[in-house]
């Protein structure tokens, strides 16, 4: 028990002495905090992006595209293929007995991000961003049960009416209820704003398929078919059906898998940028931590020697010094997490997705799991930064410590 008492006493002495080296200790805390902030900002970006795409698409929703197309943008399916899918096994039927199948058009249009708007508000000069315009079939809304119209109403089939995703509306210029949007040489009116579980669809514009086909000269061609399945297991039946019909050269996946695959690519990239940067910066902070702790040990040399004289073990000096370093870095880690939370959590950003070739709006998310990674990095810096000085503390030759004035 005595050993534990000793350790406790020395730890308290070390931590209570921190204010004596206030500026040096503060610089360690801030340096570690900055490292953690950089790491967490990147990780929160990756997590937010991933969450948006992972939240997109249900497991019981099949998406069918031309074989080898990889993305809706490259795909093309015909009306006949869509009809065949309506008769496919495993497809859920709506209350009216019609199959829940929606052939969808996927085109890219230009829009202006709020952040890209020049100071004089001249829309013509603003750099444009790619945005998805999705043409929905008659069952387009029925296949997506999670849909909530938060403002206005649905578009009326056959008219130039648009529904705007919530995320897109927040991030882009002129997408509010009642606004007129010019796409090509046709004018569209925004009649509704929708939410769909924070998914990628909220970065899209929705309109009636025939009207979009007309504008883009794509009669009878669609990019994908959405089909709601009776259960996630029904995917196999649908796959078999498509494989056995030579007219259906289509790739069949669940919507959840389709978007999850896209998520992993971009968020991997963001994490691959964030970690090396944070680790490099951590070396810089480590140098600072080592320096602070060495000067702490040097300042307490006589004190440590005295403790050793009256019978305290070297272990207690070692652990006490290590504890001081860990306390400083933990404070830095928590500071970094708090700064990230205050400055970045909930921040909206958008980027061009390589697969969809259009903007995906997402929100930075500092999840507890992400924050923990930052704190762990801080503690590693604290541990290494405290270990070597602590080693010196434990081995200070008593006579020499008194010899230095």
């Amino acid at each position: 028990m005595r050993v534990f008492n000793e350790i406790a006493v020395v730890t308290v002495i070390c931590i209570k002495s921190i204010p004596q080296r206030f500026w040096a200790s503060l610089s360690t805390v801030v340096a570690v905090g900055l490292v953690v902030t950089v790491l967490l900002a990147f990780l929160a970006m990756a997590a937010g992006f991933q969450q948006t795409l992972r939240g997109t698409g249900a497991k019981d929703m099949a998406i069918l595209m031309r074989a080898g197309a990889q993305a809706e943008l490259n795909s093309g399916v015909s009306r006949d293929q869509a009809r065949l899918i309506e008769e496919a096994p495993g497809v859920l039927k709506g209350p009216d007995g019609k199959p829940l199948v929606s052939p969808e058009l996927y085109v890219i249009v230009d829009a202006v991000k709020k952040s890209a708007l020049p100071d004089d508000g001249n829309m013509k000069k603003a750099p444009k961003s790619n945005v998805t315009l999705r043409g929905l079939g008659p069952a387009g809304i029925a296949v997506r049960p999670g849909l909530k119209i938060v403002e206005g109403r649905r578009f009326t089939p056959g008219t130039n009416e648009l529904m705007v995703g919530r995320a897109l509306q927040k991030d882009f210029v002129g997408m509010n209820l009642g606004d007129t949007v010019k796409l090509g040489n046709a004018s569209w009116v925004v009649v509704g704003v929708f939410e769909l579980d924070g998914s990628v669809f909220e970065s899209e514009l929705w309109a009636d398929t025939p009207v979009v086909q007309d504008l883009f000269h794509r009669q009878n061609v669609f990019q994908s078919i959405r089909a709601r399945l009776t259960s996630p297991d029904a995917l196999l039946a649908l796959k078999d059906y498509a494989a056995n019909d030579p007219q259906l050269k289509l790739d069949v996946t669940t919507e959840a898998d389709y978007y999850a695959q896209q998520a992993s690519r971009t968020s991997d990239l963001i994490q691959k940028l964030g970690w090396p940067l944070a680790i490099a910066m951590a070396f810089g902070a480590l140098a600072g931590a080592l320096n602070t702790m060495y000067s702490s040990v040097a300042a307490r040399a006589q004190e440590i020697a005295t403790l050793r004289c009256i019978g305290f073990s070297g272990t207690s000096s070692f652990l006490g010094t290590l504890a001081e370093s860990l306390v400083l870095s933990l404070a830095g880690g928590i500071l970094g997490a708090l700064v990230t939370w205050a400055a970045f959590d909930g921040l909206t950003a958008s980027t061009l997705s390589g697969t969809t070739f259009s903007q995906i709006v997402f929100t930075f998310r500092l999840t507890p799991a992400v924050a923990l990674q930052g704190v762990i990095l801080a503690l590693i810096v604290g541990f290494v930064g405290g270990f070597f000085p602590a080693w010196r503390a434990a081995r200070i030759p008593i006579v020499e410590a008194y010899g230095t004035p």
């Binding site: 500026w23 040096a24 503060l26 610089s27 360690t28 801030v30 340096a31 900055l34 490292v35 902030t37 950089v38 900002a41 080898g68 197309a69 990889q70 993305a71 943008l73 490259n74 093309g76 085109v107 890219i108 249009v109 230009d110 952040s115 890209a116 750099p127 444009k128 961003s129 790619n130 796409l183 090509g184 040489n185 883009f216 000269h217 061609v221 940067l277 490099a280 910066m281 070396f283 810089g284 902070a285 140098a287 600072g288 080592l290 320096n291 060495y294 000067s295 950003a349 958008s350 980027t351 061009l352 070739f357 903007q359």
Partner: protein, 387 residues
């Protein structure tokens, strides 16, 4: 005893501490060098583009095609010199993940417009123009897959279907390699004949993706652009004409605010060393209070001591920062090879280096300022009394 000698000995009085400071500064400048180079390449990669080049795209978005007839109509607009056109093929080799920027182009006019950007051997040039089934491969692509002139390569499209056999594959022969004539030119591309493409695809016949043209001079750019867009106003495919520079910049901007992210990260790295080094310098000079008092007693003028402390901190910043930039240069070279031309012109350029050295001096001056001031104002009597 020269000032410099004294300065050097003072700096390395505590070797471990100085080494740690140098390490922290080193890391910050490696980060600055790499990120600064990437930012520079992004911002100036498009600057090397000729000023008098305009791009015409469909107004809806640049991936929506336009009628082929637009090419000749645009060529007839006053102020237009050379016109060429291209279409996106969605090409990949073997695996859909091996995407290659593949463009169907009109060989003769394309190479006329891009004469200053690409270096092509005359023989390859001729083959490419006369043989419809050939392609011109950018240096980066040729290196990656080990292709050489004469190789027959099955190239896949993730968009189009080949009329010949209903597959998504086009067999093309390598006519030759296209090299970058300017450092900032991207060679991660494949060019093949638009005529071949137009006749063998199953849909989208007689359309072009975008039209590139040269104006008589950059001064008439705006006029020509307006004339072209007016020409197609109220047609089924309205156009948007802008300079190739603006087009490139707008595309990069779509990825996100790269410059802001880089500035924040570099700012955080510099703030870290500012804290660490600034503090340590204060500590180091405080330890020497008595020595400084002795120097002053011996008749050293205050400004000389002031200069020495500042010199010490600037030297420290340079000793950490210069190797940092050197390592950054190495990393950037490796990175440029790794991304095989995806970021054209990626290198540690002179402006980035010069600014880096400026930051080192600034860092030294800021971190040395407080201790130097303290040393300057030091009162001999109190300092010697402080035992």
């Amino acid at each position: 005893m020269s000032d410099l000698y004294l300065l050097w000995r003072n700096l390395f009085r505590r070797k471990l501490r100085t080494f740690l400071m140098m390490l922290a500064i080193f890391v910050a400048f490696v980060i600055y060098g790499v990120l600064g180079s990437i930012n520079y390449a992004f911002e100036h990669g498009v600057d090397s583009v000729a000023d008098n080049r305009l791009v015409v795209t469909n107004k809806i978005t640049f991936i929506q095609p336009m009628p082929f007839a637009y090419v000749n109509k645009i060529a007839a607009v006053k102020g237009v010199k050379n016109v060429t056109y291209a279409s996106w093929f969605g090409g990949y080799y073997q695996d859909p993940r091996n995407q290659i920027g593949t463009y169907a182009v009109d060989p003769e006019s394309y190479m006329r417009v891009y004469r200053d950007d690409l270096r092509i051997d005359p023989e390859a040039h001729d083959t490419f123009i006369h043989d419809r089934t050939t392609m011109l491969v950018g240096e980066a692509v040729a290196k990656k897959y080990g292709w050489k002139a004469g190789d027959r390569i099955p190239l896949n499209s993730n968009i189009f279907t080949n009329k010949a056999d209903g597959s998504h594959t086009w067999e093309l022969t390598v006519a030759g390699i296209a090299y970058a004539a300017k450092e900032a030119s991207n060679t991660n591309f494949i060019l093949f004949q638009h005529e071949n493409f137009n006749e063998s695809k199953t849909f989208g016949k007689d359309t072009v993706g975008w039209i590139t043209l040269e104006t008589d001079s950059a001064t008439v750019n705006d006029k020509v652009a307006a004339a072209i867009d007016d020409l197609f106003a109220n047609s089924t495919a309205e156009t948007n004409t802008q300079s190739e520079k603006a087009f490139g910049k707008a595309f990069l901007a779509q990825l996100g605010n790269i410059a802001l992210i880089i500035t924040l990260v570099v700012g955080a790295a510099f703030a870290t060393i500012l804290m660490i080094v600034g503090n340590t310098m204060v500590m180091a000079v405080r330890e020497r209070t008595k020595e400084i008092a002795v120097l002053k007693t011996l008749g050293f003028p205050s400004w000389r001591i002031w200069r020495q402390v500042l010199g010490e901190s600037v030297l420290l910043a340079l000793l950490g920062g210069v190797p940092g930039l050197a390592v950054a240069a190495l990393l950037v070279t490796l990175l440029a090879k790794g991304v095989s031309g995806a970021i054209p012109g990626l290198a540690l350029t002179l402006p980035v280096t010069a600014l880096g050295v400026g930051f080192m001096v600034l860092l030294g001056l800021i971190t040395g300022f407080v201790p130097a001031w303290t040393a300057l104002r030091l009162n001999i009597v109190t300092a010697l009394g402080r035992l």
